[in-house]
Symmetry: C2
């Protein structure tokens, strides 16, 4: 491997001069620069990023922790995140928990060992808040509360709930089935804000006197379970006339309705929550609550910027129980609006 030393020797200059040229830093006379550049070309010199990484204690890599990239929600989110990061010269490392049998802890470990500069946390976690707040490295949460000092970006699920409820009420729905994650996630103080749309829908429908049942699908990574759940709805609630669930659930429910000869939207309305590509490729264009992926990704990246800036900032005075390198402002929570995109599956 040809290194800076070789270039320096060939150009007849010192190591530091080569470094200055490579990094385009400081002042180097024109002919020095020329000599170095020609030597670099001659030798086909390529700087080794690992050495820089060590010196700077940075990898310019952000990990994205999520259940599985195979789920359209996360692949869409990740695509947008990658765009934001790339614009900042940051790389995107895939950290799927379901695709690898690695838990979040292993990825956090990698963060601690400086294999990444920060982490976007978008998977469910069972860790108590003090686990997350004790990490003292750049973390930004997507759609879940991890404790003081960990900024959160999420969609406005209450608004999503209101939009769904209004649609259902206005169109005269009478028996709504909501499909979502395990009901245990609804506990007070849950880290999992997604379910707020369910709570909002339930409340508003109750006020309007509309029947509303909740059906548990498996966890987000268990896509087969979603399919089974969607089909089972029709057995369990033969008079259902509206189904609300993720894009996957909604698509499969729509397919099953068609199989049973149920008219959509006349006899059954279907609303998808997420609004990924899959909402457009189902049997009909699904009416969907669309999460604003570009805005979410942009907000996450901005938060990450400041977490990283704080991390690189003034070293903490070594009393590691009281001080942190990372921003500990009262947890900022940024809420991104959603929109109801009318499709062919609602009246």
């Amino acid at each position: 491997m040809v290194g800076m030393r070789d270039v320096a020797k060939a150009a007849g200059v010192s190591l530091s001069t080569v470094s200055l040229v490579v990094n385009n830093t400081g002042y180097v006379s024109a002919d020095m620069r020329a000599k170095v550049e020609s030597a670099m070309r001659q030798l086909n010199y390529i700087p080794n990023e690992l050495a820089r990484n060590l010196y700077r204690n940075r990898t310019n890599t952000i990990g994205v922790i999520m259940p599985t990239i195979a789920h359209p929600f996360f692949s869409t989110l990740t695509a947008h995140l990658q765009r934001e990061f790339a614009a900042r010269d940051l790389k995107t490392l895939l950290c799927s928990t379901a695709d690898t049998d690695k838990g979040e802890s292993e990825y956090i470990d990698m963060l601690q060992r400086h294999m990444m500069d920060g982490i976007i946390m978008a998977a469910h976690t069972e860790h108590p808040a003090d686990y997350w707040t004790s990490i003292h490295r750049p973390i930004v949460a997507f759609d879940r509360t991890l404790g003081e000092g960990v900024p959160v970006v999420r969609s406005d699920h209450e608004q999503g709930g209101r939009l769904i409820a209004r649609q259902l009420i206005d169109s005269g729905a009478r028996h709504v089935v909501l499909v979502g994650g395990p009901r245990s996630q609804f506990a007070e103080g849950t880290t999992f804000p997604t379910i707020r749309y369910h709570l909002t829908v339930e409340r508003l429908l109750a006020e309007a006197g509309i029947a509303c049942d909740y059906v548990e699908a498996g966890t987000v990574a268990d896509i087969a379970a979603h399919e089974a759940t969607a089909c089972a709805i029709f057995e369990q609630y033969p008079d259902v006339d509206a189904i609300v669930g993720s894009d996957v659930v909604a698509s499969v429910a729509l397919q099953e309705a068609s199989r049973r000869g149920i008219e959509v939207p006349a006899d059954l309305q279907v609303i998808a929550y997420d609004g990924t590509l899959m909402a457009e490729t189902a049997g009909k264009r699904l009416t969907a609550i669309r999460q604003d992926f570009p805005a979410i990704a942009a907000a996450l990246a901005v938060r990450m910027d400041s977490q990283i800036a704080a991390d690189g900032g003034p070293a903490s005075p070594s009393k590691n129980d009281s001080a942190s390198n990372v921003d500990t402002q009262p947890t900022p929570e940024e809420v991104i609006p959603v929109a109801l995109i009318p499709g062919e599956t609602t009246r």
Copy 2:
């Protein structure tokens, strides 16, 4: 940051002893080990991976170059790749060209700068073969030929074509429309083997005297174009009675057929090529040629293993025009069988 030096000092031993304990290498007496371990715990020592990376000239990271992770084909492939890599303690770096406006060259550059140990190349490329063969670092191609010394793993698209043709012939199709990438990719010596299934289908249908038209969809990353194309088919070929395209194209075509009141599969058959989750969430379960993602990922990972082993191997004798660190056996091409999964969209 607490480093090995601090641990050594606290434990009253030398740096190397700490290193031996951390890496669990060589022989360390029990009480030495105990002292070191307690010091590590005390100080909450976490090894800095960057230093190791520099020494070993390795990052244990594989980049996956693809058009966009938002496309179900690539998100599925990537999920499986990540599983294989994780089992080998390798991380997966996302390298989407369409999601970042970065070309493959930028990712290859990162490979050269040792920011990754290897690359899986699964995007289309306009570079001539000598570009790829001149890189001399671990690269494994998925479904495209990049030149001597770059191993290829691909699905058996000829078999896929035969399965499709047989299905269409046996079911009495009379006017088939094939949807695929730009026809220019069909040139002799193309780097893009995917289109072989189109060629096979065309040939077999011609032999059977069945009409077959080819319609160009946009590039794989341009999903909106796929949707438009699928709809346009019905205008352009009113008597079409079978459509073959990617999962996305097939799903949208099926949706459009339903909108037009066309009976599937009685009056129109639809076959999806890929067999991702999306083939299951369309209006009906799509009959699909399923690419064997687990097998593909496994094969890619095995090839990557040996490319990396060769890369770390004996240094080339510095005559960089004749020798390479990387395996230059006659290009191995591994062909993975596909399967036709019957669904509700064929007769």
